[in-house]
């Protein structure tokens, strides 16, 4: 399986009136074909910022964007906006935003939404584009005649499927799913996740799956990146991270999820996430970590523990 995405040392700082917000610091992961990585963490941890940094959906007040983002073998970090737009965005990688349901223009028919990227970005003739739209909408589980309807005629779940269809119609290698099911019913959510699983195996697309719902993230994740205060504190295969997390924060995070099927004790992490303008010196989790030692006042490096396991914690490093 070849690599479709490699992120290294990715840094994203925003400029604000109170100072630079260090939203993403030193992010790192790789993604192969057909693989899914889940970015989990609480609000403000930087998962959305990381995704946006990769696909370059950034606001105007970016102070710094640096590191390396190699998409399908091409380094994109130094590309101009125009070049990125032309070559990468919506061709190699697409993005399903949070609350995508309201991102459909209510006065444009579904079919017109779907053919737009094909006609505009790929110069596909309209009749061919409509055929592809037809095929796409069936594969997301919507009957074909809904193509000719308007978004407001569709239910929430259907609209979400349309948005996902939109993200797949250009055959990208990577789709970023940012909270794709948060606004939906549990049943609809399950149906959409089923659909995403089928599409993945049929089309071979890779997902970057962002969610605050840790249980739901396990529905798709092959590997998991746990984020805290702009850092990826742990990165590893699903089998490891969900079952036996290493980083103290991951332990706390996974411990705080109440289980339906087991009677494990539920814990919580006291304290609150730090300010990203003035993060704590050294390890950003240190103020809340029960294993903290004086060494933690130094920034812990990213420690490789296995072929694809990384932790950013002194507990696992050189003494």
């Amino acid at each position: 399986m070849s690599e479709v995405l490699r992120v290294e040392r990715l840094k994203l700082y925003y400029r604000t009136m109170s100072g630079p917000v260090k939203a993403v610091e030193d992010a790192y992961f790789t993604l192969r074909e057909k693989e899914t990585i889940a970015l989990i963490g609480e609000s403000g941890c930087g998962k959305t910022s990381l995704a946006r940094a990769i696909i370059r959906f950034l606001p105007r007040n970016v102070q710094e964007l640096s590191g390396s983002v190699v998409i399908d073998g091409v380094e994109t970090i130094n590309m101009s906006d125009a070049e990125f737009n032309e070559k990468i965005r919506w061709k190699k990688i697409t993005y399903v935003t949070q609350a995508a349901i309201s991102s459909l223009n209510p006065v444009i028919k579904v079919v017109d939404h779907l053919i737009e990227p094909l006609v505009i970005n790929f110069k596909v003739p309209k009749s061919e584009a409509v055929e592809r739209a037809r095929e796409m909408i069936k594969s997301v589980g919507i009957p074909e005649d809904f193509l000719w309807r308007y978004p407001f005629e569709l239910s929430g779940g259907m609209r979400q499927r349309v948005v996902i269809a939109l993200s797949l119609i250009t055959n990208p290698k990577i789709v970023i799913l940012d909270e794709p099911t948060s606004a939906l019913d549990v049943m609809t959510q399950a149906n959409i996740l089923n659909m995403l699983k089928e599409i993945r195996s049929k089309r071979g697309v890779s997902y970057i799956f962002i969610t605050h719902d840790i249980a739901v993230s396990s529905e798709l994740a092959d590997k998991v990146a746990v984020m805290y205060a702009g850092w990826i504190v742990e990165l590893g295969p699903a089998e490891k991270v969900y079952v036996d997390p290493l980083h103290p924060y991951s332990k706390g995070l996974l411990g705080s999820v109440p289980r339906l099927r087991s009677d494990r004790e539920v814990t919580f992490i006291p304290g609150t996430p730090p300010s990203l303008i003035n993060p704590p010196k050294g390890c950003r989790f240190r103020p809340r970590c029960k294993y903290a030692t004086p060494k933690c006042e130094e920034v812990p490096p990213i420690i490789k523990l296995g072929s694809e396991e990384y932790v950013r914690c002194w507990l696992y490093g050189e003494k």
Binding site: E42, A190, L193, H212, S217, L253, P258, R259, L260, S262
Partner: protein, 332 residues
């Protein structure tokens, strides 16, 4: 529908809801063309000092049910009997002066639930001012409550405004506000769904401690079975405006009897790396139109176990051993 409560039991239960219906009229051009049957024949009881969860997906009527119990929406028929008095028949002034003191509300969005132009002290004082708690007592209660919900030192929070606090802190204030009149029943409508995962359990456990201390009953409304399991002792599952299953929380989750409950639970994941290899079994279709619900059992169009009877006759809430009630013909 069977009614097994005797009048005496009614009086021992804190809250008894009997055959409650809340129908919203749909008006077109001055005439009513139909009704949205948000709550359609709900009966249950809440004992003193217990936490009961009401679980269901959005649109199932749990929010409307909660509002009806609080007295915030008008009731179409049925009764809400609180400490022996039918609240739906009481004059409005009595409801406002007596009932609102007995029942507290914690809402989902802490930022929307607080007036942004009032500071924490004023917010907590309002219910007491309305119910004429003497001035000296008010400050005592405020300080006490802030400490109880974990906002210490309380003096630090008194003069802050809602936007200065985090979601978790503000929700604690909401809980303090609901408790400041020492109500007997608290309705918590998705109190932690807007908070971060790690904060949820913290808040719920604090809430649980307070509930035990003050011996209040709590109606915990949520779509999240997992927190319901953690927090409540009894659970009620709602679908299309009706209660389809009632029982002890752990039992219901471990062994759901109603097809809907079973489907709902099977669809909810735990963090498990194996999840990604399997497709979830879901119910086809969507919840029914509440203006024109299907005849018979409301789940019949989607139910994997549907029988002929289900399509024409609405099943009653059948009592099963082990403190379980199920609204399904499978158990007749």
């Amino acid at each position: 529908m069977e009614r097994s409560e005797t009048p005496q039991e009614e009086r021992e239960e804190l809250l008894v809801v009997k055959d409650l219906r809340v129908w919203h009229p749909v008006r077109r051009l001055f005439t009513t063309v139909g009704y949205i049957r948000a709550v359609d024949g709900v009966s249950f009881s809440v004992p003193r000092g217990k936490i009961v969860a009401i679980v269901g997906e959005s649109g199932c009527g749990k929010t409307t049910l909660a509002r009806a119990i609080m007295g915030l929406v008008p009731v179409t028929s049925g009764s809400i009997i609180f400490e022996g008095k039918d609240v739906t028949k009481l004059p409005r002034t009595v409801v406002r002066r007596w009932y609102t003191r007995q029942v507290g509300l914690v809402q989902q969005d802490p930022y929307a639930a607080m007036p942004p132009f009032m500071n924490i002290k004023t917010i907590l004082e309002e219910p007491m001012k309305i119910h004429k708690v003497p001035k000296e007592e008010r400050m005592k209660r405020i300080i006490n409550m802030l400490t109880e919900v974990g906002l210490t030192p309380p003096e630090d929070f008194l003069y802050k405004y809602p936007h200065m606090l985090s979601g978790g802190q503000l929700q604690r204030v909401a809980i303090a506000r609901a408790l400041v009149l020492y109500p007997k029943l608290v309705l918590a409508d998705e109190p932690v769904s807007m908070l971060d995962a790690s904060v949820r359990i913290e808040i719920l456990s604090m809430f649980k401690e307070l509930q035990e201390k003050y011996k209040m009953s709590v109606l915990y409304i949520t779509h999240d079975f997992a927190t319901a399991k953690y927090f409540s002792s009894e659970i009620m599952v709602m679908y299309a405006g009706q209660i389809v299953e009632i029982g002890d929380t752990r039992d219901v989750i471990r062994a759901p009897k109603h097809p809907y409950t079973e489907a709902l639970i099977s669809v909810l994941p735990d963090p498990d790396p194996q999840n990604r290899f399997t497709l979830k079994k879901t119910l086809p279709g969507e919840p029914p139109n509440l203006m024109r619900p299907p005849p018979g059992c409301r789940l019949s169009p989607r139910c994997p176990y549907v029988m002929e009877r289900c399509k024409t006759q609405e099943p009653p809430l059948l009592e099963l051993p082990g403190n379980r009630k199920v609204k399904c013909w499978l158990y007749a």
